[in-house]
């Protein structure tokens, strides 16, 4: 019976929103250092995420690979919620060329979490958790993009991003000893698939002279569909009475929601050694759909009157509309270059403000969130023709970003709420580096 109850509990679960980690922590160290204000600037592998049109600006075959590590200290009532760190490899390849004398480029970007390829953790919707930052690390991202530059001042790009998804079945059969569960003889079968969902990405970039670029990018909405079906068949033994048992459970939920986003960006170069970027992103969080599991369950057990109290079928979860709000996210970044005959060195800084899309949690849901301010710094090194075998360029970028989530206080309308009010605050540190080679 404890196993049955565990499954009943599992049927009432919710998966956190867990949006794409690249949108939160950045793709590439140069990009993260400049507040990810890159829609009108980026040209490397990170263009597969920020603006695929930027791929068409690439001049050489480019390989990039990097790593970032985000440590999170997210608090509820002053207690660390031990939200998972976010770690992973970023990288990709950009291959430029010409087709009918029109410049084009193919780009492949990859984010590979170095903990797990995929992870799902579910909770009831009333349990407090950091909705936008919990569990979002475990997401595999692959973006395959194409870009063309039909005229010198215009680049267009687009493609498909792939996100991993999990679905599965499991079955348990055998005899459960309810008096001594450790003596149970049960067989477990798990069948899980790692499937993908596809998300469209589009972008455009306009060069207004030598000193100003404008960019526009669109990322489609996506969410991972999680399905779990369980079938338990067997016998339960209690006080010498053996009864046939069958328990079925179906659970359907969502994970890794990524809202639709439209970004307008500008990149100005008032001086050959100075660049200033500004992005403004519209994020459609209002379409966020609660990840609470829609579940059904049924328990059949007979011949145990007076011995076992058979629980009724679980009550279907009443899924609350999370009522998230759309938001505008401003991002700014600056970059200055020191030029030497042999190497070039850059210093970078950025700032991002993300207003929380989560409304006050006065009811039974507890999607914890707060506004987020991110300050970032970084440096870059460019070494042209570093050796006889490489006549392109060697690039090394590092970044450090600090996010501050000021305290947000939640007060419940119902004084009998089982969770009650709480204070939420936090901070995140993001460190990383990216190594790139232009051939």
């Amino acid at each position: 019976m404890p196993r049955v109850r565990a499954l009943v509990a599992a049927s009432l679960l919710v998966a956190p929103a867990a949006a794409n980690p690249l949108g939160t922590y950045g793709f590439g160290s140069r990009e993260a250092a400049m507040g990810a204000a890159m829609t009108a600037d980026t040209t490397g592998a990170s263009a597969t995420f920020y603006n695929p049109a930027g791929l068409a600006m690439a001049q050489r075959l480019t390989l990039e690979i990097g790593h970032f590590n985000v440590n999170q200290r997210l608090l509820i009532d002053g207690r660390d919620t031990r939200t998972d760190p976010v770690k992973g490899l970023n990288g990709g390849v950009v291959a430029p060329g010409e087709l009918f004398k029109i410049p084009f480029a193919f780009g492949l970007g990859v984010h590979l979490p170095d903990d797990r390829l995929s992870r799902v953790r579910t909770m009831r919707q009333d349990i407090p958790r950091w909705e936008l930052y919990d569990n979002r690390a475990q997401l595999l991202f692959i973006g395959a993009m194409l870009a063309v530059r039909p005229v010198r001042w215009l680049s267009l790009g687009g493609g498909i991003a792939f996100l991993s998804s999990t679905r599965g079945d499991f079955a348990i059969s055998g005899r459960a000893q309810l008096d001594s569960t450790y003596d149970s003889q049960l067989r477990h079968e798990v069948d899980a698939d790692l499937t993908t969902v596809r998300v469209p990405y589009f972008g455009a970039r306009v060069e207004l002279g030598e000193r100003l670029s404008l960019g526009l990018s669109y990322r489609g909405e996506s969410k991972l569909d999680l399905k779990l079906d369980a079938d338990i068949k067997g016998e339960a033994e209690k006080l010498g009475i053996v009864a046939p048992v069958r328990y079925t459970l179906g659970s359907h939920s969502f994970d890794a929601f990524q809202p639709r986003q439209l970004t307008l960006g500008a990149s100005a170069r008032p001086h050959p050694r100075l660049r200033a970027n500004l992005d403004l992103t519209y994020v459609q969080w209002s379409s966020y759909e609660s990840a609470t599991s829609r579940s059904t369950s049924h328990l059949e057990i007979s011949g145990v009157d007076g011995v076992l109290a058979v629980p009724p079928d679980t009550k279907p979860t009443v899924v609350k509309d999370p009522e998230f709000r759309d938001r505008l996210v401003p991002r700014v970044g600056v970059e200055g270059w020191l030029v030497d005959a042999r190497v070039r060195v850059a210093a970078r800084a950025g700032y991002v403000f993300e207003r929380s899309p989560v409304p006050p949690q006065t009811g039974t849901t507890n999607f914890v969130d707060a506004d987020r301010h991110t300050l970032s710094l970084g440096a870059g090194l460019r070494v042209p023709k570093p050796s006889d075998v490489l006549d392109g360029e060697l690039r090394l970028d590092v970044h450090a970003a600090w996010s501050f989530l000021p305290e947000r206080r939640t007060v419940k309308d119902n004084p009998a709420d089982f969770v009650g009010g709480y204070r939420a605050s936090g901070r995140q540190t993001n460190l990383g580096l990216t190594l790139g080679v232009l051939f």
Binding site: H67, I76, T83, D417
Partner: protein
């Protein structure tokens, strides 16, 4: 790709591999729940008895309406004194419950604390029941129901309770909602005075007092009534309200919201139209109406008659109920629930013990 390209690619992969780390244990597995002490409660079990209820009073005697009071202020000391009503006619019995050797709870010093026969009062019936015990300063008061009224007794220096001659509150025939009896008192005492919640006519009413001995009704309406039925009575399944036939047996305590507002929590017995009972919770901010929680706090064993004891980070729910969940005839046990439900109580694993029972 040329050899030099492959060489540089290999260098990149080597650098990336050096950054990779092994997966740590999944974090954030503990939910954070600021109000977890309010409930829901999980039953403390008697491991040796399987599905039998986790009673701490002997099943052979049908003890009911438990009221608990900590014996010591130390938040780590879980010793309690319990008052229950039992027998025919009903008398109130007191015993002490403490963690004994081998983590067994031991019942000691059982004695009749209050009865009609030993000290009869004119307004009482022969039954003395529904104890509620309260420590106010240096004084311990025992409220009880008898006849159509609620009385109060005060513990003297010798440990015996002495009844006050006048009742604290009696049924009011003029009241539009009350029944012929008032019963199941629960009293709050603080700087603002004394507040009593009581049951009458299947609902819960409220009365106030300046001294805690004589109460007058607060308003002309109950503060909590049965929930409106959701529809035709079916099988009492999960979609049925647990309290659409009766609410009663209140137990009140104070709390504070996250923004510093004073809250009154009222635990109560809810009974549905199928006759099943469970423990519910309704709370209010000062001056506001009672609002129910989204779910009952304890639904097992047909529990009824809650009494709440807070000890440090834990809350104990002491309640009456069945001694075997699968058999409707086995009533009369005293059960213990624990909140937060994910916590444990290693020093008090409830084991029934007849030793010392009168």
């Amino acid at each position: 790709m040329s050899a030099r390209h492959a060489a540089w690619l290999g260098l990149l992969l080597l650098a990336a591999g050096a950054c990779g780390t092994a997966a740590p244990p999944a974090g954030n597995d503990d939910s954070i729940n600021p109000n977890a002490r309010l409930g829901p409660f999980r039953p403390l079990r008697k491991p040796s008895e399987g599905t039998s209820a986790p009673q701490i009073a002997p099943a052979s005697r049908k003890w009911d309406h438990p009221a608990a009071l900590p014996l010591h202020e130390d938040p780590t000391d879980l010793a309690l004194e319990l008052f229950v009503d039992s027998g025919t006619p009903r008398v109130i019995t007191r015993f002490e419950l403490a963690a004994g050797p081998a983590r067994r709870a031991s019942i000691t010093d059982a004695m009749v604390a209050l009865s009609h026969a030993a000290d009869p009062l004119g307004w009482e019936s022969t039954d003395v029941a529904h104890p509620f015990v309260l420590r106010a300063g240096a004084e311990t008061r025992l409220y009880y129901a008898s006849g159509a009224c609620i009385g109060v007794a005060v513990r003297g220096g010798d440990g015996a309770f002495v009844k006050r001659p006048e009742p604290a509150l009696c049924a009011d025939g003029a009241s539009s909602w009350e029944g012929p009896l008032v019963t199941a008192p629960a009293v709050l005492a603080d700087g603002a005075g004394w507040t009593m919640f009581y049951e009458s006519g299947g609902a819960i009413g409220e009365a106030a007092s300046a001294d805690g001995f004589v109460f007058s009704r607060s308003g002309g309406a109950p503060v909590l009534t049965p929930r409106p039925p959701a529809g035709p009575l079916t099988d009492g399944g999960v979609d049925e309200p647990f309290d659409d036939a009766r609410v009663g047996d209140p137990h009140a305590q104070r709390g504070v919201s996250s923004d510093g507002r004073s809250i009154v929590h009222v635990y109560y017995t809810g009974e549905n139209r199928a006759g099943a009972t469970a423990i519910g919770l309704a709370s209010r901010f000062d001056g506001g109406p009672l609002t129910r929680s989204t779910a009952p706090v304890f639904t097992r064993y047909d529990a009824r008659g809650p009494s709440i004891v807070q000890k440090g980070a834990l809350t104990l729910l002491i309640t009456g109920g069945r001694t075997n969940e699968a058999q409707a005839t086995t009533a009369g046990g005293v059960l213990v629930g624990l909140a937060p439900a994910t916590s444990s109580l290693p020093s008090l694993v409830a084991e029934g013990d007849d030793a010392g029972a009168p």
